[in-house]
Amino acid sequence: MSMITEPFHDIKTERQDITKPLPRILILVPVLFCISCVAAIALNLLFFFKIKESETAKVQWKSKIEQETSRKSETEKEIELIKNEDRRAKDVFDWVEGSRQLQPLAVGVARSMGVKSSIEELSLVRDIENPHQIRIGLDFVNGGQEQLDSTLSAINELGYRAYSANQTSGQGGQVDYQATLIWQKIINKNNNLSLNHNE
C-alpha cells in the first residue's frame, strides 16, 4: 500500500465556510466541562440526599428534644413533689424533734421542789402549731425565789429555756410562775461526746 498521506483529489465545488477541526489538545475543554457537569450533578445529588438526611435527623432530634423537655418537666414536677414531700417530712421531723416528752419535764419540776415546798398546780400545755414551745404554769408554796431558781435550773438542765416569763407572788409564800419553754437542741454536746468517743 502507498505510504503517501497526500489527500485524495476532490474536484467538487469548494464550500467557503469550511473550518478546520480544532486541535486535539483543546478537547480537554469539553472533556473538563463534561466532567465538571457530571461532578456538579453528582455533588448536587449528594448534597440533596445529605440535606434530606439532615432534615430527617433534625426532625428526629427535635422530637427527641421535645421528649426530653417533657421528661425534664415531668422530672422537675417529680422533684418538686419530692421537695414538697421532703419539706413536709422536715416539718414532721421538726415537729417530732420539737415534741419532746412532757413526762421528764414534769418529773424534773417535781424533783426540783425542796422539802418544804409543794406544788399546788402544774400545767404543761404544748402549742399545736409550735410543738417545741410548751406553756408552763406553776403554782407552788414555800421556797420563794430560791425554789423558783432551783426549778428553772432543773428545767434548763433538761434542755429548755424559759421565755416570756411571768411571776407573781401571793400570800403565804405562794408563787405563781408562767412562761414559755422552748426546746434547745443540745447538738454541740452530742458532737462533743461523739468527738470524745472518736478520740
Partner: protein, 296 residues
C-alpha cells in the same frame, strides 16, 4: 462567537472534520455513519454502501445515464446513508494529460482547486477543474481536467434528489495515482534492497469503461494516453486498439502493471496476447476504487 460554535465544542463536533472537508479522510469525516460510494461513466452507474462499522456493502450497478439513474434510485440511496452523504467517482468528460515543468510550490495541490491559473499558468482553461500528481523523480506531472459544467450539473442533480456530495473525484485518475504511489514505493524498496531497478513500466489503468495508459522509462514518465467511455464489457475492441501501439514498442526489460476494475474482465489475457513476452504485474483488486474512496 455563535451559540452553534459553543455547542459544537461541547458536543465534540468542532474536533471532527467537516463533512465537506476534502483534506480529511472519508472515514474521519463520517465515523459511525452510513455513507454511499457511487462510480459512474456515461452508460453505467455502480454503487456500494459503507456501513457504520466502515465495511463495504455489496456492489450494485444499473445501466443508464446518471441523470435517470439518480432520479430513480435516490430514495433507495437515501436509505443507505445517514444524512444522504455520498462520494461520487466520475469517469466521463475528463482529460488526463502529461505535463512538464509545472510549479511545485508548497500548497500547489490545494491552490489548483481554487486558482488553477496560479499553478498551471497559460495551460489553465476556463471552465475546468483540475487535480495534479507530480513525479517525484522528474519534472513531469499528470494533470486531470474535468468540465466544470459537468461537475456543477452533477452537484445540482444530487442536491435536488436530497443527496449530499462529500467528494467528487475521477475514479480512473484516483486509481492511476494510487498505482503510481505503489510503483514509487516498490522502486524505493528495490533501491534500498540493492535489487535491480524496475525498468520500463507500462501502467494500464481501467475503470468503468475508461482507460489510462502511462508509459515510463525507468522513473521518468514518457507517454500518457487516456480515453473515457471507451469500451464496455461486451465490446473490448477499442481498448485493444488503443493499447496495441503502445505495447508494440516496449523496451527489453519492460513490465506491465495492470490496475483494472471488473468492467475490464479479460484485459489480462488481452495484454498477454498483445505483449506475450512482457511480464504482467496485476495489482487489480475488486475493492480497488472503493477502498480508495473509503480509506483516503
Amino acid at each position: 462567537m455563535k451559540l452553534s460554535d459553543i455547542t459544537n465544542v461541547l458536543s465534540f463536533a468542532a474536533f471532527r472534520p467537516d463533512s465537506d472537508d476534502s483534506s480529511c479522510m472519508w472515514r474521519k469525516r463520517f465515523p459511525n455513519k452510513q455513507t454511499l460510494f457511487l462510480n459512474f461513466s456515461k452508460e453505467i452507474v455502480s454503487w456500494r454502501s459503507v456501513n457504520k462499522d466502515g465495511f463495504l456493502g455489496d456492489e450494485n450497478s444499473i445501466a443508464g445515464p446518471i441523470k435517470e439513474v439518480v432520479e430513480d434510485m435516490s430514495a433507495d440511496w437515501m436509505d443507505l446513508t445517514d444524512g444522504g452523504w455520498c462520494a461520487v467517482s466520475i469517469n466521463h468528460r475528463f482529460v488526463i494529460s502529461l505535463e512538464t515543468n509545472l510549479t511545485r510550490k508548497n500548497g500547489a495541490s490545494e491552490l489548483i482547486r481554487t486558482n488553477p491559473k496560479a499553478v498551471l499558468g497559460s495551460k489553465s482553461e476556463r471552465g475546468k477543474r483540475y487535480a495534479l500528481k507530480h513525479n517525484d523523480e522528474s519534472n513531469s506531472s499528470i494533470l486531470l481536467a474535468v468540465d466544470e459544467d459537468y461537475i456543477k450539473e452533477i452537484e445540482t442533480l444530487f442536491k435536488s434528489s436530497g443527496l449530499n456530495i462529500g467528494r467528487i473525484c475521477c475514479g480512473i485518475y484516483g486509481m492511476l495515482a494510487e498505482s503510481l504511489d505503489q510503483i514509487s514505493e516498490a522502486q524505493k524498496d528495490y533501491k534500498e534492497n540493492g535489487d535491480e531497478p524496475l525498468g520500463n513500466v507500462i501502467l494500464v489503468t481501467c475503470c468503468e469503461g475508461s482507460v489510462c495508459i502511462l508509459k515510463s522509462d525507468q522513473e521518468k514518465w514518457t507517454e500518457l494516453r487516456s480515453r473515457n467511455s471507451l469500451y464496455t464489457q461486451e465490446d473490448m475492441g477499442p481498448l485493444r486498439k488503443i493499447m496495441a501501439p503502445i505495447l508494440e514498442d516496449h523496451g527489453a526489460n519492460a513490465q506491465i502493471v495492470l490496475n483494472a476494475d471488473k468492467s475490464a474482465e479479460g484485459i489480462n489475457e488481452m495484454l498477454s496476447e498483445l505483449a506475450p513476452k512482457v511480464r504482467i504485474n496485476d495489482i487489480s483488486d475488486s475493492y480497488g476504487l472503493w477502498d480508495l474512496l473509503k480509506n483516503k
